[in-house]
């Protein structure tokens, strides 16, 4: 019995010892922790988050189930005949836009807000880090980063308010949203917040020195210093001013933007895509005769004719005729060709829109003369169309909306947003009798609603 006792004792002791020595902790092998940025951030970490903002704001832009694609369908610019997912028709066109799935009705909410939090993360980290020029950021560099972060944040808020519009209930103060959902804000409150972000960013950028301490994507070529980035900031501001019908303000913002009536209409800022490792591609590039992404038939029928009888250059430049396909009773033989490859950039805002925004502001102010000049400039240079004369405000607006439809076709949901702003959604074509009128706004996702309750 003694032997046994000793043996059992020895075993118990060895097991206990083994226990005492056992530290089983294993790290996350796959990803950096958020604490790398929230606690004692380093300069490289902050640079990575700054670059991350461009990644975050790009996520939904050119996905098949993204901003341009979905807004394009509701705005009757496009179809998506994805046989594997009928909801491009049943949710976007023929049925209710439901709030319970992360795609379709519930889409375009989590991604912009995630990037809004990325920007908050960046702004906090910049406040935390010291001003040592090698280990931290100089005061000037910090200002440049803040100006950048707030501008991109404003762009993401614009995605939110453009999709939810009067359905807001949107969120502004999201910093502590994990613990307490942000209070609901109305559409006008969100717009006001966007304006203040853009204006704060302007001040930061003005004291942001000569260069950003991090690289911007090729989509920002020509706008990659704080001073040139400011003209992009003002361009966004001008769009927001027009959306808010602050037309004088809009003209002032345009004056500070990169608007250039004599310059390339494509001058502007873009989302960049590539096929490099870790990068994403432009999913709106959809070649092939039997492709899913198609132009709405009304894009062909609505196009004005040039004097030689051929359609608007903008139509022929952006749309091509392909084999017809029928899906869920819809038929289209039109495909897009404006994105030439899966690495093609997608505009965030460009000169052509700015000139039309100036026309729009002038129409809003009753200055039909300057508006006519801008509209005819676009008609001639972009559309190859004869000049028009603007005689009434109503006719001027009709003409402006036509120009915007074709100048900004399938590059940012402009058609839907513009028609909605002027209460003209009922003028969009109805694809089938009995189908509901175009959705006025995306619902607030069920997850947000649940979290608030």
């Amino acid at each position: 019995m003694k032997t046994i006792g000793r043996f059992v004792l020895a075993s118990v002791v060895s097991v206990t010892v083994l226990w005492g020595c056992s530290d089983l902790t294993e790290p996350d092998f796959n990803n950096p922790s958020i604490t790398e940025v929230t606690e004692d951030p380093t300069r490289p970490a902050i640079i990575s988050v700054a670059t991350g903002l461009l990644i975050g704001t790009r996520v939904d832009a050119a996905r098949t189930n993204g901003y341009i694609s979905l807004l394009g369908i509701i705005g009757r610019e496009s179809y998506n005949f994805d046989g594997a997912d009928p909801r491009f028709v049943t949710q976007m066109l023929s049925g209710p836009l439901t709030n319970n799935a992360p795609r379709f009705g519930g889409n375009l909410w989590a991604s912009p807000y995630r990037n809004i939090q990325n920007a908050n993360l960046l702004l906090d980290a910049v406040d935390q880090i010291g001003t040592d020029p090698t280990a931290g950021f100089s005061a000037t560099e910090k200002e440049a980063i803040r100006g950048f972060a707030k501008t991109i944040q404003a762009l993401d808020f614009l995605t939110v308010v453009n999709t939810r519009d009067t359905n807001c209930g949107c969120a502004i103060d999201t910093q502590d949203g994990i613990f307490e959902p942000a209070p609901e804000a109305t559409k006008s409150e969100v717009f006001a917040h966007i304006v203040s972000l853009l204006d704060e960013a302007k001040n930061h950028l003005e004291s942001g020195g000569g260069s950003f301490p991090f690289p911007l994507s090729p989509g920002f070529a020509g706008f990659d210093s704080p001073s040139s980035f400011l003209t992009f900031n003002r361009a966004l501001k001008a769009r927001v001013d027009v959306y808010m019908m602050n037309y004088n303000q809009a003209l002032q913002s345009l004056g500070e933007s990169f608007i250039n009536a004599g310059g390339s209409l494509d001058l502007g800022v873009y989302q960049a895509y590539s096929t490099g490792p870790g990068d994403i591609t432009n999913e709106l590039f959809d070649p092939g005769e039997t492709r899913n992404i198609r132009a709405h038939p009304s894009v062909a029928t609505d196009a004005e004719l040039k004097t030689n009888g051929s359609p608007d250059d903008r139509f022929t430049r952006k749309v091509q005729t392909i084999s017809p396909r029928t899906f869920l009773d819809l038929t289209s033989d039109l495909g897009f060709q404006l994105y030439a490859s899966n690495q093609a950039s997608v505009p965030i805002i460009r000169n052509e829109e700015l000139i039309l925004l100036r026309a729009e502001a002038n129409i809003g102010l009753g200055n039909l003369g300057p508006a006519e000049a801008d509209i005819n400039l676009i008609r001639a240079t972009s559309g190859g169309l004869p000049a028009v004369t603007l005689s009434t405000a109503q006719q001027a607006l009709d003409q402006l909306l036509y120009e915007k439809q074709y100048s900004l076709l399938f590059e940012g949901g402009h058609r839907w947003i513009d028609m909605r702003r002027y209460g003209r959604l009922d003028q969009l074509p109805l694809d089938m009798p009995g189908w509901p009128p175009p959705h006025p706004a995306f619902p607030i996702p069920i997850a947000e609603v649940n979290a608030r309750n």
């Binding site: 796959n30 958020i34 992360p102 995630r114 608030r452």
Partner: protein, 996 residues
């Protein structure tokens, strides 16, 4: 397990009887010889165990049932003869008797079988306090099948075996007593010869091409991936023991909430080498098709498909494209050789096998080659060592199936291909462009040209020892230990050449995918077992104590390369290359203590134990989580009429389900780039730094009745499980930037009944009938959900999904049921993936050398989300597309809607696609004939011819291909979604089994 072996192989020399032996020295000696036969058939009983009670004399007889005992004292003695499968017999051997013939009665109810009762201890089934199922190797291998779980179908009461598709070679889920978790693992713990064995399923990344994760469910596991228990060959298995719930599995602690499957591979027996040879030849045959709408005119074709329809339509021409695609009946084969033998101190078992199962689709199939060597060695009289090694090589090819958003997946592309479209190649071998799929994909071309090779090497090696280190007084102590490694290396290479239509129309034609996964499991453990019987003999006590350490290290590297230089499959041939590396490492430490008491002439069993676990996956890696267990069984000491014995039993236990790797971390996403610049972004997941395992408590009770002279047994078990501290996902307001947050909370309950009748109503020398009927029913209910009800698992309510909702079944399927006045869908329960009940019927008839074995599997009331039919409807190709009368509205027409009615209701209604998957299936049928060996003039131990069918027929009203399907692979909740799965097949095998 180890003790079990100890009892078999280290024979009775260990028994404490030194005093008696000393006395016997003075008595004259004799040699006793004899033979053992079956009391009904008269056939010899191989390897009988003979022991003389009260002495250390004992032996294991030969294969022909004969035995010889030397140095037996010449006085009256009690002899005990036993053999697994027979009831042991004790009788008096008179002092003058030297030869005996023993007739053993068959142990039909296996009451003497030693069943696992603890980590290292066993108890006879007659005393068992839990409903533990044991399936032996013969029953497991009635009809050939590639994987162990699939071979268990219908053989374990309380187990539901679900295939994820009809592809040969794995992708099977074994669910024991219903769901046990929402977000944690759904896998039972597989333990092969004591080593916890990986059942990881590494996906092949085909979503790069199919874009299956780009819809509303980004789950990457929509690829018909194989869970790797498939690497183990069922034919090397001696027995499978299934611990179905915490009351039996508590001693496995924090990994055992889904039950434990203990697999014991074959061992050698003393005797000359015995060779077994098996040769099989068979084939697989497509067992169901959906059918396709027949178009009668070009106008009808144009109405459905536009101009393309008119162009392709040709009157009177129809193609059964499903049958053409799934029409391969190539010969499958298997060859297997094993040898077993040994002597008093050494035993060995070695096997080698190769098989090739050819799928019904071109270029699909499953190949396996395996080698196994098991060795056991006695060192002296107190130490037994064992070494078990298995090397397997499997190759799986399954083509492109399951969900996709590119219409590349076979049954996805077929859904949109009208029956008048010819997909077959022309005389030059050129496959036609398919104008009806957006990408032009032609599934026949895809099947012919896509290379999808999964290559797995797996080495499992373990060694154990059982040292009877002390026998003192009435104590008998064993020290047992185990060390084992389970290593697997999986390589998936997929090649989509640029000439495929869907590649040619893609932005970057030609795609090559290379995935390398490695998983290493390391196990060690040491235990001490003390058997104690007091001098009075009033009880026997078994005390066991021990610890285990286990680690799992999984690393997966993926390379994606597209825009390939023509014809080149190497990943460096593309212009667009992406790489990814993932690693998960888990380390666990556990400790247990258990006490078992057998009292009142072995009628009362009392058992209690506790397990403590810590794991690197827990938030607090140093915290111990305790899992207690207790059990009692009592055999009522009298019978009444035809009731021979009634045993009452009850057991309680708790187990855990560990958090998954990473659920405690809040990561930033770091793999993303923009124009080559790296950036980090919030990934959207908030980990819980204090996350804990889920805890399942179970109480089970029941009775076992032995009837009609032990010819019939009836077992009834009721169980009640409660899962608490669930690992849940809270959805913070998405405006916070985070989409989900892990936390512990909530609970659900699961209760059910298991009924089993087994027996042999007729058994005589000419004719034998063995039958088993198994019934299982369970239901779950979410009892506490501290978050709002959430949809889960599938593609959203308009396409049917699961919803976790307080007060409802955990497996309810919900969908849209009309719109509310605000235009938002009314989301209601439309079905339940959990069957109302499951039954199986096993029958075995023996007549002379002939044997007929059948297994029917019957499941009632489980519902599926039939997105396969939705796809067919979307393609307007459903065989019932055209409404015979005026087009009615869903739900008025449900369940008899035509295709156009079903699709017109889409968006507002989902009920037309949530369908019952009840079925009755002939899972296994086998006919065999044992040739009398003397007839052939060969010196064979046996020669058997066998014809076997698997899934010969299925009776179901389900409109999809097969009700056993899971687009998302193995999941606790979220199976039963049917999207373009690999089609079901029946298999037929002709086998020759021979023993030398």
């Amino acid at each position: 397990m180890k003790l079990l072996r100890g009892m078999l192989v280290v024979p009775f020399a260990l028994l404490l009887a030194t005093d008696l032996v000393a006395q016997d020295q003075e008595v004259p000696q004799r040699t006793v010889t004899g033979s053992v036969v079956d009391d009904v058939t008269g056939q010899r009983v191989d390897f009988p165990q003979i022991e003389i009670l009260g002495t250390s004399i004992g032996t294991v007889g030969a294969e022909d049932g004969t035995f010889s005992l030397q140095d037996v004292p010449r006085r009256e003695l009690t002899l005990r003869v036993s053999r697994i499968g027979y009831k042991r017999q004790e009788f008096i051997l008179a002092a003058g008797r030297d030869t005996i013939r023993v007739r053993l009665g068959s142990d039909i109810l296996r009451i003497e079988e030693l069943v696992v009762s603890g980590r290292v201890t066993t108890v006879q089934r007659r005393n068992l306090a839990n409903a533990v199922s044991v399936v032996d190797g013969v029953e497991l291998n009635e009809v050939p099948i590639a994987t162990i779980e699939a071979a268990l179908v219908g053989k374990v009461t309380g187990a539901i075996v679900e295939q994820n598709s009809g592809a040969p070679g794995g992708g099977v889920q074994l669910t024991l007593r219903g769901v046990s978790s929402i977000n944690a693992s759904s896998d039972p713990l597989y333990v092969v010869d004591g080593v916890i064995t990986s059942n990881v399923a590494i996906s092949n990344n085909q979503e790069v091409v199919t874009r299956s994760n780009e819809g509303s469910n980004p789950d990457p596991n929509q690829q018909n991936q194989v869970n790797r228990i498939a690497d183990f060959n069922p034919e090397d298995i001696e027995s499978v023991t299934v611990l179905k719930g915490p009351s039996a599995a508590a001693i496995y602690g924090a990994k055992a909430s889904n039950g434990v499957v203990l697999i014991r591979t074959k061992r050698g027996q003393p005797g000359p080498p015995r060779f077994d040879f098996t040769g099989r030849l068979g084939m697989f045959d497509l067992s169901n098709t959906i059918g396709s709408r027949v178009f009668t005119s070009a106008d009808e074709a144009e109405a459905a498909f536009g101009a393309a329809g008119r162009t392709a339509f040709e009157r009177g021409k129809t193609f059964d494209n499903e049958a053409i695609l799934g029409g391969e009946n190539d010969a499958s084969w298997e060859g297997r050789l094993s040898v077993a033998g040994g002597d008093r101190n050494t035993s060995y078992y070695a096997s080698a096998m190769a098989e090739n199962q050819r799928g019904v689709i071109r270029n699909t199939g499953f190949k396996r080659q395996a080698l196994r060597v098991n060795l056991q060695q006695n060192v002296g009289t107190t130490l037994n060592l064992g070494v078990y090694t298995n090397l397997t090589h499997t190759q799986t090819s399954r083509g492109i199936t399951n969900n996709d958003n590119a219409l590349v997946s076979y049954w996805m592309a077929l859904a949109f291909t009208p029956s008048f479209q010819n997909l077959r190649p022309n005389a030059d071998g050129v496959y036609p462009f398919n104008p009806f799929t957006g990408s032009g994909s032609n599934p026949l071309q895809t099947a012919a040209l896509v290379e999808d090779d999964q290559d797995v090497w797996r080495l499992t090696a373990s060694t154990d020892f059982d040292w009877n280190f002390a026998r003192a007084g009435r104590h008998d102590l064993h020290l047992t230990g185990l060390a084992g490694v389970d290593f697997l290396s999986q390589s998936n290479s997929l090649f989509f050449p640029a000439e495929l239509h869907f590649e040619a129309t893609s932005p970057e034609p030609g795609t090559s995918l290379l995935n390398d996964g490695r998983n290493t499991n390391v196990n060690t453990g040491v235990s001490i077992v003390d058997n104690f019987t007091p001098a009075s003999g009033a009880f026997t006590s078994t005390t066991s104590i021990g610890f285990q350490y286990e680690s799992t290290d999984l690393e997966v590297n993926r390379i994606v390369s597209s825009n390939l230089v023509a014809g080149q499959a190497n990943v460096d041939a593309g212009t667009s290359v992406g790489v990814e590396e993932r690693r998960e490492k888990v380390r666990d430490l556990g400790f247990f203590l258990q006490e078992e008491l057998l009292l009142l002439q072995e009628r009362l069993l009392l058992s209690a134990g506790v397990r403590a676990d810590q794991s690197s996956n827990n938030g607090d890696t140093e915290k111990l989580f305790w899992y207690p267990k207790a059990a009692v069984s009592y055999r009522i000491p009298f019978g009444v009429g035809w009731l021979n014995e009634l045993k009452l039993r009850s057991a309680f236990g708790q187990t855990g389900n560990r958090p998954l790797y990473g659920q405690k971390f809040t990561p930033l996403s770091s793999g993303e780039r923009i124009a080559g610049e790296p950036g980090v972004v919030i990934q959207g997941t908030l980990g819980d730094p204090g996350i804990e395992p889920e805890r399942m408590s179970e109480i089970e009770g029941g009775f076992d009745a032995r009837l009609f002279n032990d010819a019939i047994g009836f077992e009834a078990t009721f169980f009640y499980q409660k899962v608490t501290n669930l690992i849940l996902e809270r959805t913070p307001a998405p405006s916070s930037g985070f989409a989900r947050e892990f936390f512990n909370g909530g609970s659900f309950r699961n209760q059910g009944i298991e009924l089993t009748v087994v027996g042999s109503p007729v058994r005589n020398p000419v004719f034998g009938w063995f039958t088993a009927v198994r019934f299982f029913k369970n239901s779950t209910k979410i009892t506490n959900l501290p978050v709002p009800a959430f949809e889960f698992g599938a593609f959203g309510s308009d396409l049917g999904t699961f919803k976790i909702e307080q007060g409802k079944s955990a497996t309810q399927i919900v969908g849209n049921n009309g719109l509310d006045p605000g235009g938002q869908p009314i989301i209601e329960q439309l079905g339940d993936a959990n069957p109302d009940f499951v039954m199986s019927f096993t029958n075995e008839l023996n007549y002379k050398g002939f044997r007929l074995y059948t297994l029917l599997d019957w499941r009632v009331g489980q519902d599926l989300v039939n997105l396969q039919q939705l796809l067919w409807d979307l393609g307007q190709t459903s065989p019932d597309w055209v409404s015979p009368g005026p087009v009615r509205e869903v739900p008025d027409c449900n369940p008899d809607c035509s295709g156009e009615e079903r699709i017109s209701g889409l968006g507002d209604y989902t009920q037309q696609y949530v369908q019952s998957g009840s079925f009755l299936r002939a899972s296994e049928i086998s006919v065999s004939y044992d040739l009398p060996s003397q007839v052939l003039g060969l010196n064979l131990r046996f020669l058997q011819l066998n014809l076997a069918f698997r899934n010969l027929f299925t009776i179901t009203s389900y409109a999809g291909l097969d009700p056993l399907v899971s687009n998302f692979g193995n999941k606790p909740i979220g199976r039963s979604v049917d999207v373009a799965a690999f089609p079901p097949s029946r298999a037929i095998w002709f086998s020759v089994l021979m023993g030398i």
